[in-house]
Every structure is written in structure tokens, then in C-alpha cells.
């Protein structure tokens, strides 16, 4: 049995993993967002030499396991003379992987901009680059904020993988402490709890960003989009008629 005191002693070292985990999360997200935007725009390009590589990158990173990609970057790339520091390796793989998934979100955002906007820009004779950066993207980006926010939390969970390439994040420190104590249960229970609290905190941050983005986009934020107590009260499909719900049990 582990005495709680010994786990307690390691607590400062363990919590030192929080900033590392957050750092990897935000850095990887900083890679993923531009990657997603570039890939989504690339995929819509009328030129095949742009469209094809973009499609290839998306399918490549989505197609195989992120852990395998991480190990490949860590163990195989050095053999080709490209030795990346573990942090760069982890951030790049997570960013490119998640960015490939997020390119779908960007595509949906771009598609959601009314066609008339593009047509009007064409009618005004605006050059293609101006149409994209000044007309379409500014309208599409606020739409992408809520899904990007969800991806931030996905990324937080995703970062646990980098502990396997020697980055000293929460998971890495948890394993180390568990091995030192010879008893892994309590530290991993604590680790799960810390990740959950971090995810909830990021959720609050994301909701604040959502509101700001909605205000920027000139939309009214209804309270209904931010359900309170969603953690324990599951939303039921609105289509279910009242008579079909048990109630009470």
C-alpha cells in the first residue's frame, strides 16, 4: 500500500506537468488551425497540383494511427538525418494530424458562407486573393470558432501521447511517479481527474471565445446554446414526444 504521504511529496513535480500539457495543447493547436485552413482551401483549389497534395496530406494523416506517426517521426526520421527535438516532433505530429481532421470543419465553414457573397465579389471584379481573404474567410472564421473550440479539448486529450516520446507532461510524470512508488492506481486516478478539470476549464474558455466570435459575427447568442448542467443532464432529442418518455422509472 502506498502511504498517501509519499504521493503527496510528488505532487509539486506532478502538477509541474500541467503547464507542459497546456503548452503542447496550445502549440499543437497553433499548428493545427493554419494547417486546417490551408488544407481546406487547397482542397477546393481549381488547380490539380494544389488540390491533390492537399488531399494526400489529409488522407495520409487521417489514415493511420497518430501514435504510429509519432513513433515514426521520433524513431525513423533521425535515420534520414532529420533529428527533431521531442517537443517539436510531438507538436508537429499532433498539429498535422488534428489539422487534417479539422480541415473538414474549415470546409464546412467555407461552404456556409452564402454563395451570393462570392458572386458579388466576382461581379465587383475583385481579384481571387482578395475574395478569399477579405470576403469569404472573415465571414467563415467566426462560424468555425465553436467546432475549433471542441477540437481544443480533443487536442488536450490527444497530448497524452507525447509522453511516449519523452516529453515530461502530466502523463509522463504520472508514469514516472507510479513506477517510483511501485503503485500506479492512485496517481493515475489523480491524473484522470486533473485532465478532466483541465478539459472543463478549457470548455469554459471556449464558450467565452464562442460568445465573442458570435458577437463579432453580429449574431445574437441565445442562452440555449450554452446549456448549464450539461454534465449530468443529458439533452434528449427534441423529436421524442412526451408520451414516449418514461419519467421516473
Amino acid at each position: 500500500m502506498t502511504s498517501p504521504k509519499s504521493l503527496w511529496e510528488f505532487l509539486p513535480f506532478f502538477l509541474g506537468g500541467v503547464p507542459v500539457t497546456l503548452e503542447v495543447t496550445f502549440l499543437a493547436m497553433a499548428v493545427a488551425v493554419p494547417v486546417a485552413i490551408i488544407l481546406a482551401i487547397g482542397r477546393k483549389s481549381p488547380r490539380a497540383f494544389v488540390r491533390w497534395p492537399a488531399g494526400f496530406v489529409i488522407e495520409f494523416f487521417r489514415g493511420s494511427s497518430a501514435l504510429v506517426q509519432l513513433f515514426w517521426a521520433f524513431y525513423v526520421l533521425p535515420l534520414f538525418g532529420l533529428t527533431l527535438p521531442p517537443l517539436v516532433c510531438g507538436v508537429l505530429v499532433l498539429g498535422l494530424n488534428e489539422g487534417s481532421y479539422m480541415s473538414e470543419v474549415v470546409r464546412a465553414g467555407l461552404d456556409a458562407v452564402p454563395k451570393g457573397q462570392r458572386e458579388a465579389a466576382v461581379a465587383l471584379g475583385l481579384p481571387a486573393r482578395y475574395r478569399l481573404f477579405r470576403i469569404v474567410l472573415p465571414q467563415a472564421l467566426p462560424l468555425m470558432v465553436p467546432p475549433f473550440g471542441n477540437e481544443l479539448i480533443t487536442m488536450l486529450k490527444f497530448t497524452a501521447l507525447v509522453s511516449l516520446v519523452t516529453i515530461q507532461d502530466l502523463s509522463f510524470r504520472a508514469s514516472l511517479i507510479g513506477d517510483t512508488l511501485g503503485h500506479n492506481g492512485p496517481i493515475f486516478a489523480l491524473t484522470i481527474a486533473v485532465y478532466f478539470v483541465l478539459a472543463l476549464s478549457l470548455g469554459v474558455l471556449v464558450r467565452m471565445l464562442e460568445r465573442a466570435a458570435a458577437r463579432r459575427a453580429g449574431r445574437h447568442v441565445t442562452e440555449a446554446t450554452v446549456p448549464h448542467g450539461a454534465l449530468i443532464t443529458p439533452a434528449l432529442p427534441s423529436s421524442i414526444p412526451a408520451w414516449a418518455l418514461g419519467g421516473g422509472g
Binding site: L79, S171, I232, S239, A244
Partner: protein, 221 residues
């Protein structure tokens, strides 16, 4: 340093060993998916039943599973299940971990399936005066599940890729075999590339097949 060159003879020689890992990976995916679909349905039923205290507790658990990394969940199960007197193998632990994690996503998919059912189904069921239990078991759920089969397929594909994590809890699946070969021969290029290629080919083809299935369903509907 060896490893700059791709050695075909070496690559061929390790295929049989990797194939052993493939078998484990495929079984884990199949068993994990079955567990995820069953548990996901259980969460959905608990959600619909709205049982006081039980539904909030179960729902908190589901959100908890969704909100934390699969890797840590696997570690936790791996180290804690034995201390609860459950002496399950690493392989079984991995399947439980995968099933539990993806059941949270399956529950959301079932919910979408129920939501998208045409209102006429409810109206017809009410008109026929069927008991509520039969409405759910005989009309609503079977149709909802059938409608979301392609989405459940996507869960299988995601899980297939995530089985690589089982290597961290000593399950000798595909990635673990690849790493073991790398560590004994000091050649990582061939095993890790073959492992990655295998994941890619299987999940790319399955994703394409599922997309085709979805469009076919859309055309039919």
C-alpha cells in the same frame, strides 16, 4: 548507422511477425466495437428513461470518459482492475478500455439516429396505441440504429487506429510487434513504415467504403 536504406529482404522477413500483431489488432477492434455499441445503447436507454439519480450519475460518468485521454484510462484500468480483484489479461483490459471510451461516442450517434427519425413514426405508433416499451424496442430503436450504421462504422475505423495505444499496456498488437522488431534489430524504418502503411491501407479503404455506403443510403432515402 544502418537504416538509411530500405531493405526489401528485411521488410519481407518481418511480415510474418507483424501478421501476428495484425490478428491481435483486428480482434481487439472487433471486440472493442461490440462492447462500445452495447454500452452506448445502455447509456442511451438510461438517458431516455430519465431515472432520478441514476441518469445524472451515468451521464456524468459518460462525460468523464469523453473528457479524459484514452491513454490514461488504459493505464488506470491496467493498474487498478487487478487491485479490485479483477485479474483480467492486458488484452481484455485493452478491449474494456476501448469499448468504454468509444461507448460515449456511440451514445451520441444513437441519439442522432433517434432525433432524425421522421415524426410520422411517432405519430403512427401513438395511433396504433402500442405500449411505450414496444414503440421503443420494435419501432424507434431498430430504425434509429439502422440509420446510423455508417456512423457506427466510423467508430470502428477510429477504434482500429486507436488500438495502437494498447501497445503501451503490454498488449502485443501490431505496433508493439513493430517496436519489438525495431528494438531487437536496430532497424526501425521497415517495421514502423510497414505498420503505418497497414493502418493507412485498412482505414483508408474502410473510410471510402463507409462514405459510399452513406451516399447510397442518402440516395435511397
Amino acid at each position: 548507422m544502418s537504416g538509411f536504406h530500405w531493405d526489401w529482404a528485411f521488410a519481407w522477413s518481418i511480415v510474418p511477425e507483424l501478421a501476428q500483431g495484425v490478428v491481435v489488432t483486428v480482434i481487439a477492434t472487433a471486440a472493442g466495437s461490440a462492447l462500445a455499441f452495447m454500452l452506448g445503447m445502455m447509456w442511451t436507454l438510461v438517458r431516455i428513461a430519465q431515472i432520478r439519480l441514476v441518469t445524472p450519475a451515468v451521464w456524468f460518468f459518460v462525460q468523464f470518459v469523453r473528457g479524459t485521454p484514452l491513454l490514461i484510462q488504459l493505464y488506470f484500468l491496467f493498474y487498478v482492475l487487478p487491485t479490485w480483484g479483477l485479474s483480467v489479461s492486458a488484452f481484455a483490459t485493452g478491449i474494456i478500455g476501448l469499448g468504454l471510451f468509444f461507448s460515449a461516442y456511440a451514445a451520441e450517434i444513437y441519439r442522432a439516429g433517434i432525433e432524425d427519425l421522421p415524426a410520422g413514426q411517432w405519430e403512427a405508433a401513438l395511433t396504433l396505441g402500442l405500449p411505450v416499451r414496444r414503440v421503443w424496442a420494435g419501432i424507434i430503436l431498430p430504425q434509429a440504429v439502422r440509420a446510423v450504421l455508417p456512423m457506427l462504422g466510423n467508430i470502428v475505423v477510429s477504434m482500429f487506429k486507436q488500438t495502437a495505444l494498447l501497445s503501451t499496456i503490454t498488449v502485443l498488437e501490431l505496433l508493439a510487434h513493430g517496436m519489438a522488431i525495431g528494438q531487437t534489430t536496430y532497424r526501425f524504418v521497415e517495421p514502423l513504415t510497414l505498420v503505418g502503411a497497414f493502418y493507412f491501407v485498412v482505414s483508408y479503404l474502410s473510410a471510402r467504403a463507409l462514405r459510399a455506403l452513406e451516399t447510397r443510403d442518402e440516395i435511397r432515402a
